[in-house]
Point group: C2
Chain length 232, copies 2
């Protein structure tokens, strides 16, 4: 992690994502800016959190683990995403680990400042509510699909949700990855078993594996395998 002292860069992103518009602007806000390398942990699970963060550049992966060491990949995030909303509102430690997938830049503003000067600002509260509501809606969807559908069902739904041309779907974008390992982690299964399912779908002539991706050969049959289920 590196602190970035570059007021022009800061200004650029505050303007690009209209972060300033969420806060009262009567005075200079105590923003800080940090850069994280690919693979670096932005926030560890269980740690105390002190700032509300905005991801303004790069891509990060959000994971949640249990005491046995297994982890579920919840989603990927892109600009503009908020990190620390639950921690601000509920005053709890970091709930899910945030890890940079490529180089990331985050802008932060201290919880103390927000609580002292901005906690009743409707624009901020609206922004937080919209982000948290989206996360709850999609978390509930993933929860039920991941638990109630078979791995073949889930994988077919995943492909329909992320690759289908009519998938104009925010959650599908957050789940998109071409790594079989990461897809397994998103669906809560093992790499081995997902490979069995992929092999089975290839054998049925529904998909074909390419160098770095999966190609759909039969959308109709894939839709049947998905049972109409979508991640959205």
């Amino acid at each position: 992690m590196r602190n970035i002292q570059d007021s022009e860069l800061l200004e650029k992103y505050l303007e690009e994502f209209q972060i300033n518009r969420m806060f009262h602007q009567s005075k200079q806000l105590p923003y800080h800016m940090q850069q994280y390398h690919s693979g670096e942990i932005i926030r560890f699970e269980g740690m105390e959190m002190n700032s509300l963060l905005f991801l303004v550049n790069g891509k990060a992966r959000i994971t949640s683990s249990i005491e046995t060491g297994k982890a579920l990949l919840l989603r990927f995030i892109y600009p503009l995403s908020v990190i620390g909303d639950i921690e601000l509102i509920r005053d709890v430690p970091v709930q899910s680990q945030v890890q940079a997938v490529d180089e990331c830049l985050v802008i932060g503003i201290p919880f103390d400042y927000i609580k002292k000067y901005e906690i009743d600002n409707p624009r901020l509260l609206h922004m937080l509510l919209e982000h948290v509501s989206f996360k709850l809606q999609t978390c509930t969807t993933a929860s039920r699909v991941n638990l109630l559908a078979s791995v073949e069902n889930k994988f077919a739904s995943y492909l329909m949700s992320t690759l289908s041309p009519d998938a104009d779907n925010e959650f599908g974008i957050e789940l998109q990855t071409s790594s079989v390992k990461e897809i397994a982690s998103l669906l809560g299964t093992t790499y081995r078993h997902l490979n069995r399912v992929i092999a089975s779908l290839i054998e049925q002539g529904i998909i074909e594996r390419q160098k770095n991706s999966i190609q759909i050969l039969n959308w109709k049959e894939l839709e049947k395998a998905a049972n109409g289920i979508r991640y959205k």
Copy 2:
């Protein structure tokens, strides 16, 4: 469902749960009040929603289903709970079904009114944020535990989270039920398989089945079976 026209009763609950304090009080708010029988559906999945609802009496179960007909029991709710927060903020149809467990009373206020007069009210926004944040935090927990742990792990964790005397835990209270059928639905498994797990824990001398509940005989061994995992 029956509409209740009883301004004294309405006043009583508005006062008891301080619902009035969340809104501007410069004029009479267009509250409506409905009563639902045990087993009656308060809100169906997929339906359009027009009012923000407060559960002020009774208990209701929240479930979420997939297109194959299987359903996951997300939680039980008690007064004071909010129904329709996601639907208000994100302008989407009902995401999860709400069904009365016993006789329920809800007070509603139309979305149109909220959007016209109260949408920037910090007290309302705070109340909504707190409820939605709690739901997201607990949904994420349930999501990862339910997917990554075995049914025996999950059931032991469930017992530790709901029956343990030091379980001073809001989510544990929302998950509490003595019905094996409902516990199976909460954990995303079948009634048959949960009974195997219960039989196994009885055989290990960890629990014993009573007339209408489960008794813990060995907290230490149960904690081991739970692997330190909790629903909270």
